[in-house]
Amino acid sequence: MSPMVHLLAASGGFAIVVFGWLHYLSLIPKEKVPKKPVFSLVVMFVGSLAANTPWIVLWWRGGGVHTMLLALGISGLGLALFFVYLLGQAPLPDQPIKLKIGDIFPELEVVDAYGQKHYTKDWKGQRYLFKFFRGHW
């Protein structure tokens, strides 16, 4: 096979990996990310296989491997593996709250939106709702 064919195959493989990334990332703002992204994983696998086959074949046959082929293969594989790593990042489970009904609310020093400090021990004598919320995200 001509060097051009090898280069096309490796480039195509790299492009497939990049397409896989862009496709997955485009699902995130639309909140359409599948729990089991089988399609994305298949695309990563096919892309990295295509990107790496040319230089592996050439090397196996004892021929010289152009740096460009190696670069496309390794970076394609790297991108695919990084994708799999990110998918594997599972969140830690939530703990139960460290407070129960009947407890005395802890003494805290807190800061408000204007930088002013407040001390919860000073709130004795008043009723209050203390709400934790997620905030800006």
Binding site: S26, D94, I101, W123, Y128, F130
Partner: protein, 125 residues
Amino acid sequence: MKPLFEEHGVSVFALSKDNQDEAKAHKERDQLGFVTLLSDPKMKHIRSFGLEHHKALEFKTWNVMGIPLGVPGGFKSMAIPTSILVDEDGKVRWIDQADDYRMRGDLQRIQDALHNTFASNPPRE
């Protein structure tokens, strides 16, 4: 919302990981004049209560050539939405952790809790 809390003499404090600027913007945007918004950007108090919710990855939306893409923005945590009602003796009377990220969403549960806790005991003048 404000009359509900005034009726039972209850102040409202709301804490999140927002920094002070974000908290101030939230207060003004949602007209939370009667709420004291508290800022805990290092999540010190959130963690001390065991209310840290870990997210695997936080994504920001970037527009790349007109296409919105979710770009990894780091591993961030946030507070599990929790309401704690405390009486004048500093005692915890009600805790609620129903999953709701907007303050107004759980108003009915708060209203019921205020009524159940304080209806037979009007606020001291």
